[in-house]
Amino acid sequence: MTFDWSVVWQHRDALAGGTATTFLLTFATMAIAVPCGLLVAALRLNGPAPVRAIATAYVELFRNLPLILVVYWAYYVLPILTGLGLPALATGLAALSLNVTAYNSETFRAGINSIRRGQVEAAMALGMSRAQALRRVVAPQALRRITPVLASTWVSLFKDTSLVSVIAVTELAYVSMQIRAQTFRVLEMLTAMAAIYWLLGYPQAKLVDWIQRRYAVTE
């Protein structure tokens, strides 16, 4: 059996393009899922009962469905429901965002709930409004607890973006599989793909470890 690693170098532009799309998906998903997650968490914590119920149902639905199913669902069902034919990239982004928003909202909710009631009372006893107490006392503390969790979600998301390859979004996994199919260089392409994901993912994971130490809460 002979290996031909030159196939990787020959397709470097395509692989670089796929890698760029992977990063784009990760950034864009988080850019959507952080504010949306915050909104869903706020609705679950403070919304009127029916809104709370809807927000809870959303979170429990998307947290407990396999992401790949959501990706397929967004690809086949969303256009029928909305009448919109979205490009594959936007569809993939929608699926990832639905999933990660659900996770992030739970992260935010847990972070806010983890702050003792006495902290809000101390703020209010000084004469702060609820909004001021949230902004000056609860949010800064919650953020410290939330940041490491969001960082872990980021690292998972970076790898999970590969799932949107099933709907032909040209990110790293899809591009690698395409090259594999065209050149029949299975081992080389899978190895190259693994190497790229690992080399990019490992520093991010290390960064998360550092963030978790940096923001460790001492009381």
Binding site: G118, A123, A125, L126, G127, M128, Q141, E219
Partner: protein
């Protein structure tokens, strides 16, 4: 009744203006009645100590004073006007009442100085420089000027509670509410907190203190109210409560604590 010892049985500061007036205050939690019609006056410059067994309603009354708990009946007057029921009015009143909690409740993400400056800065919008100046002055007052840059996690319980007192004082309140300020402390740091409170009382600060420190109530208190099962069973000057308790309830409570005059 004209001999000198009876002077200790009068309410010395009753001539001043009434700062807080509790009138038949009722508070319920579901089926449980925490306060069943409590009436009590707090005069300017007085140290009023609320004592009694756990769960007798003392802390609840204190928390009703600044609206952390809403009342279900009766009324509370603060400086001559009815305690506000709306957020806005309540916030204005809270700025004139300092509160100190059993568990300190310092903001762990802020230094001692930032904790004390937070009220002036965020609530009174006094400007960063003025808030800082006031924070350092208050920390100095509680003997912790050298801990200004420390985070609460680096302070002992007693130090944290003194910072919490400084934080409340920075708002320049008319009355200070203390909710079991030494109950969460190690015995060796209780003294420093009581010392700060005593100094505050000597300056003429009006104080309502929920406490299990009977010697503090005896020495520093001007007036003592004994709670039992959501009522005040007896009130009077410390000399009466501790030396000549009028009710069996008070005697029981004090003897359980091993108090023998």
């Amino acid at each position: 009744m004209s001999n000198a010892s009876d002077l200790s049985l009068t309410r010395v500061k009753a001539g001043g203006s009434t700062i807080i007036r509790y009138m038949e205050v009722v508070k319920r939690y579901g089926d449980f009645t925490a306060l069943s019609g409590v009436s009590l006056d707090v005069y300017a410059g007085e140290v009023v100590c609320l004592i009694g067994p756990s769960g007798s309603g003392k802390s609840t009354l204190l928390r009703c004073t600044n609206g952390l708990e809403t009342i279900d009946g009766g009324d509370i007057e603060f400086e001559g006007s009815r305690l506000a029921r709306d957020e806005r009015g309540l916030r204005a009143m809270r700025q004139r009442m300092g509160m100190v909690f059993q568990n300190f409740e310092l903001f762990p993400h802020l230094t001692a100085e930032q904790n004390v400056a937070e009220g002036p800065r965020t609530v009174q919008r006094s400007g960063t420089a003025e808030a800082r100046r006031r924070a350092l002055a208050m920390l100095d007052k509680v003997g912790l000027a050298d801990k200004a840059a420390s985070f609460p996690s680096a302070l002992s319980g007693g130090q944290q509670q003194r910072v919490a007192i400084a934080r409340a004082l920075a708002m320049e309140p008319d009355v200070m509410l203390f909710d079991e300020p030494t109950s969460a402390l190690d015995p060796e740091t209780i003294g420093e907190v009581l010392g700060v409170m005593k100094a505050l009382a000597d300056e003429g600060m009006t104080m309502v203190v929920v406490t299990h420190e009977m010697s503090f109530a005896r020495r520093v208190g001007d007036w003592v109210a004994v709670f039992d099962a959501g009522r005040i069973v007896e009130e009077g000057p410390p000399a009466q409560i501790f030396d000549r308790p009028a009710t069996a309830r008070t005697r029981d409570f004090l003897s359980h604590l091993g108090w023998n005059g």
